[in-house]
Symmetry: C2
Amino acid sequence: MQQLPTVEDVARVAGVSRQTVSNALNSPHIVKPETMTRVKAAIAELGYRPHASARRLRTRKSSTIGVRLDPMTNGISGSLLDRFLHALTEQAAERDLRIMLFTAQGPEGEIEEFRRLRDGADVDAFVLTSTMHEDPRTAWLRDHEFPFVTFGRPSAADDLGDPIHPWVDVDGFSGAEQATRHAIDGGARRVGYIGFDDDTTTARERRAGWAAESAARLGLGSAELDTLARAVVDGVPQGIAAASALLDLPNAPDALVCASDSLALGALMAAATLGRPGIPVVGYDNTPVAAAIGFSSVDQPLDLVAASALELLFGDSGSSIVARKHSAADPLYRLLTPTLVARTSTQLTHMEEPGSPVAGNHNER
Amino acid sequence: MQQLPTVEDVARVAGVSRQTVSNALNSPHIVKPETMTRVKAAIAELGYRPHASARRLRTRKSSTIGVRLDPMTNGISGSLLDRFLHALTEQAAERDLRIMLFTAQGPEGEIEEFRRLRDGADVDAFVLTSTMHEDPRTAWLRDHEFPFVTFGRPSAADDLGDPIHPWVDVDGFSGAEQATRHAIDGGARRVGYIGFDDDTTTARERRAGWAAESAARLGLGSAELDTLARAVVDGVPQGIAAASALLDLPNAPDALVCASDSLALGALMAAATLGRPGIPVVGYDNTPVAAAIGFSSVDQPLDLVAASALELLFGDSGSSIVARKHSAADPLYRLLTPTLVARTSTQLTHMEEPGSPVAGNHNER
DNA sequence: ACCAAGCATTTGAACGATCAAACCCCTGAA
DNA sequence: TTCAGGGGTTTGATCGTTCAAATGCTTGGT
């Protein structure tokens, strides 16, 4: 077990001093090019790596971001969280930042964890994937002026004009609008909607997007729209039930837009069972199940979400926290636009190949 | 912005020295109880928290575990990874350990990342969620004697007798066996099997479990078993195709055991389409989709997996790496047994409530 | 009365990096 | 000739903690 080389060792080999090595690493512009070369050579020769903890102790920065893993029930769900974590980890790596996970029981426990991570200089900032209304956690972070961003808008009440904290979100209005447009472009004249029954921004925005597009393109009034929409808890069985109800209407929809892929899957099943297997169904989140079965779905640009979150915390580049003030020109939030991934509308009994994206798909690997 | 308190501050308030405070924290047994009380009071009064980086610098331990996030395609997939990460984070918290994520492009990039994290004293050990054969990454870690565990056996060739590195896995043989037993207990006399066509331990073990139980309970020979089994790529469409083929056989199976919930979902769809909606289908991984639709599935005890991984690295308790040698009494691996979560066998067109587990279900929250 | 042994606590040094200030050397203006 | 200015580099101090060795106090055996 050999001793790891330190700045001192590098300095000796390069024939310079500690600090010059440090400068070569952290302030390249102030070292003479020729010296730089020697230092770099010495670093390569010894395989030197800065000791992260020593640096952190001195600089009081950790270059690490804490990410709270929600219990499954809240926040972004299922494989979306996977993909987001992946994207965040990759984007963070670009800036020489690392991701540290944490979790805890209950809000108090999490605040305790915030405190611990902050006081231990373990993290420079937090990324939260939850959007609870009046969340005591975000309140604590604000009160203690500790940098953080959320994936998801805090709530409807927190206006775009003066956000109470930085956030990144994906525009559900636009997503549902695109889904609806896709169905209409495919020939649909009455597009049904199956959404969530909770009182969240997400639920509201998506329904509004569907309603707006339906009204504009199909001339449907709000009473008529109400008959075409169902609000349920997320899940396959709920999708089956809601779709069955819609398709049994006297004036049934000829296409369905759903607020999740689970609901869409349920809708497809119901359609097959009710003898309407060809009816177009559009899902949301573009999960693997949508790709596997082959129905269209709205794709959230998770790597952009991740990049934007980091940008809000650390600026355009670099890895030091920047304090920001909200302004119209440089808002404290980022509202991103999703893209529809169009696939050949599928009958459940047939096997189809996954289709190709309509526009750039951010999540193809 | 007030200065955070240090050991020195605590020492002053408690009327003792630095080191005594340190001892109170790290070696409680060597401080006099009365002193202990005073120190504890001072800590509470000042709200003192040890500075993690300073401690790491001195002790050369980070109390942090690096977890490599695989690209989606490999390793444990989809929401399983979510659940595992969650479990790991929670188990780690119990031991005052933290989880740091990382990822990279290609094996070389990941090895570079290993080196970086090791040399920077960022992590004490790694947990990998991939099981590639002859993986250069695990080879590097072994060569450099850096502690790590994998979730998943390295490969069939790496025998239980002399594992080439520590691992935790869930017994696929037992899982498939239980699934098959469940089907037979429900009255099935010919249980079909839809598994993976890749040459992995997972694929082999699960098929073997199904075959063994079928042979033992139903007296089926290996030729007959071959006609009842299909090996495909994981995915819903593949499940549909394989199930359709099996159900179209002259001597068709009266139940289906599948190596994933995706395949099971496909099988259920095919069954519904072919007019056999009541046929029992058992899935694998107990993903949300199984719960939602209501079919039985084999549940992997992810929190046990996480706990076992930590145990292999850090011993029964504590947070310092323990070097282990493989022995029959104390093997370098943990093979865990999954449990079947039985649900009322579902016809796709009906809505059913999720059932309750047959045995303890580790993943209910 | 002496010293060995043990316990609880304290003191000085070290971990590996960066900060702040000092230093050296060169140039150019007075 | 002198000195101010500045780029490039070095030196001493420091971040907060734990290690290793030293200290003081008690106890008990001979």
